[in-house]
Symmetry: C2
Subunit: 374 residues, 2 copies
């Protein structure tokens, strides 16, 4: 979009510009497409990104030293002066009145905030530990100012699992945060690997879920996925994050940590589509080759230990499919603000032809239970 | 399973052993779980693997020289003396009476045969061209002997697109074959890449579809997908083949070759789950960054240029979802014989609560149209 188009547009729709801290063009464009949601539901957005200045400074620093990779490109976009960055970055940084005004406009009662992807996972261990801590403090302050509107997930540093666990304990017991956010792999390593078990153990012991948010595939693996922009939100993010979920399901960590809860966005990152097949192939491999070792079928753990959210997947067909194969207790509403549109996310679920009791579970009941929001 | 168990089992269920050319244990075990299908439908299995001796000899030769990779491990299993190989390899090699007896047992009227994955794609270009040609000749002979029971897809060598095109023309105009099989990437290259356009152009010109069958991800990319056996049928095959499909959808090849038809097994290798999101993200990227370049949305090409099959995905929930998002004209029945069970594949569709007219389309009508089976 050309700069003058934005100005023209902003002039034509002055109302949007009145919202504090909000750049106008893209947001206003999207707003116009969907009605303002009714006040009928208490909508809790379980995937809602924010950024902190220490995090953006960290991105700026590594951008000076690292070759361009997929995640890094994205972080550099947020630091740049494109129209997209001018719209998005201030909204990510705003965890006060500006954000609340947009939540009101989108019919969102509460957001469960999480540090935008890839969180602190591109940094060196020391930097990651430090920026996670600073960012969690900033998050806790924002929640303290608006406790009825914000909850939050703590950032942590899988680069250093021991120090991650220290921060996890602090985040729950001292800061009162509601869970944890991990942006899929860290330098090609996944949470099912033994060095990360202390993180899983801590999450279970603290009774708080880990939300596994997308990021790009490891640079060493991304070649087939990169053309035509497929490395990102159209496909590659789901491959990466779905793979992370599948590794957890097949690894046995849910036998080891039976009360651990993992949250996946984007309607489960594709995993629910495959329930029939992966159970079947798991069983076939066990019969033919003696592989396996899980106490139950992989789908058992999907239903017992995982929650999925609607972030960025505002499809009634997918929702109904997921209700059928994993049930209404395991699905939570999310918009993926500010990257996706609150109004659209609400319009989709408001209009879905599913029982009212299920809508309430998905909008608020499941999130209140899983994130201890009461 | 121990060898004496097999013998004991075979003794107990003598009927199965009477089928010619069929090893007994696994098959009989599976058979017992599902009833013999009714004769109500003309069932055309659109994904049915076979092997040829030249192909197996080729696998044996490269096994001597190459490091172990995921595909190569599988081909070496077929050459080995495990119970699995003793059951599977003879069934793959049998494209005569033995196979027909199993088809009768499973209620299958016709199989569209294709050279088992990874086809000729592990070989050097010269070997691939030669084994594809030999195997296509063997296939055409089998069809000539049983024209009402078999149709077939020609193997081809993307290692050498020019010679692949020569073989494609011969396969259709001289041998009367019904389409083509490509087992996803060839040495990390995909059909959307310009050097492979002649293959797409030939398929379009000849009016025959290309079935993109799974194989393992390229060795250079597979690391995150490999643990717990996830590199194969439980997950990695779908990632690889779904990525191939997405590359085709986003690359513009369907604007260039508007009548090209691509077939994907396993209910579309996950792509249908993502229809909402990839259209949305494609549009978002185009608006923000001026990317794109397709005449239509990606899902338009999914519906116009792609067919999916039920191979290995005998889930009524997935079927209904796919009927909703891509429609009954684009779905074909397949069992994935001999790797999956004919009876189970039939029981699933026989029992599905969908209109009778759609069942007939899926069982036979769509396949007859796409593969020119009349």
């Amino acid at each position: 979009m050309q700069r003058r188009d934005i100005l023209g547009l902003a002039g034509a729709i002055g109302a949007a510009a009145a919202l504090p801290g909000v750049a106008n063009a893209q947001r206003s464009l999207e707003e116009g497409r969907f009605p303002k949601p009714s006040g009928k539901y208490k909508r809790i957005g379980t995937e809602a990104a924010f950024a902190t200045q220490p995090q953006l400074d960290g991105f700026r620093d590594i951008g000076k030293y690292l070759a361009e990779g997929a995640d890094l490109s994205f972080t550099q976009i947020l630091l740049g002066d494109s129209d997209y960055a001018k719209d998005m970055t201030p909204r990510l940084l705003n965890i006060g009145e500006g954000r609340i005004a947009e939540m009101d406009d989108g019919g969102v009662a509460m957001q469960v905030l999480s540090l935008t992807s890839p969180g602190v996972q591109l940094f060196s261990a020391d930097t990651a530990v430090s920026i996670a801590r600073e960012s969690n403090d900033i998050l806790a302050e924002a929640i303290a100012k608006h406790p009825s509107r914000f909850a939050g997930l703590a950032a942590l540093s899988p680069q250093d699992p021991k120090r991650a666990v220290v921060e996890m304990e602090r985040a729950v017991t001292r800061l009162g945060l509601n869970g944890f956010i991990v942006n899929s792999h860290t330098d090609g390593h996944y949470l099912d690997e033994e060095q990360n078990w202390p993180i899983l153990e801590a999450a279970e012991a603290l009774g708080r879920p880990i939300y596994i948010h997308p990021r790009s595939l490891p640079e060493t693996s991304i070649a087939p996925f990169r053309p035509y922009g497929l490395g990102g939100a159209s496909w590659g993010y789901a491959v990466e994050t779905g793979t992370h979920g599948m590794r957890l399901l097949f690894s046995g960590v849910f036998d080891r940590f039976p009360n651990l809860k993992i949250v996946l966005g984007h309607m489960g990152e594709g995993i629910p589509y495959w329930v029939y097949r992966f159970d079947h192939m798991y069983e076939t491999a066990r019969r033919n080759w003696g592989t396996g070792g899980l106490v139950n079928t992989p789908s058992f753990y999907l239903k017992r230990n995982m929650m999925i959210t609607t972030s960025g997947m505002f499809s009634e067909s997918v929702l109904k499919y997921c209700l059928e194969v994993i049930g209404p207790d395991n699905i939570m509403w999310a918009a993926d603000y500010p990257y996706q549109n609150n109004r659209e996310a609400a319009a989709f679920l408001d209009a879905a032809a599913i029982p009212e009791t299920q809508k309430i579970q998905i909008y608020s009941g499941n999130a209140e239970r899983i994130f201890h929001l009461n």
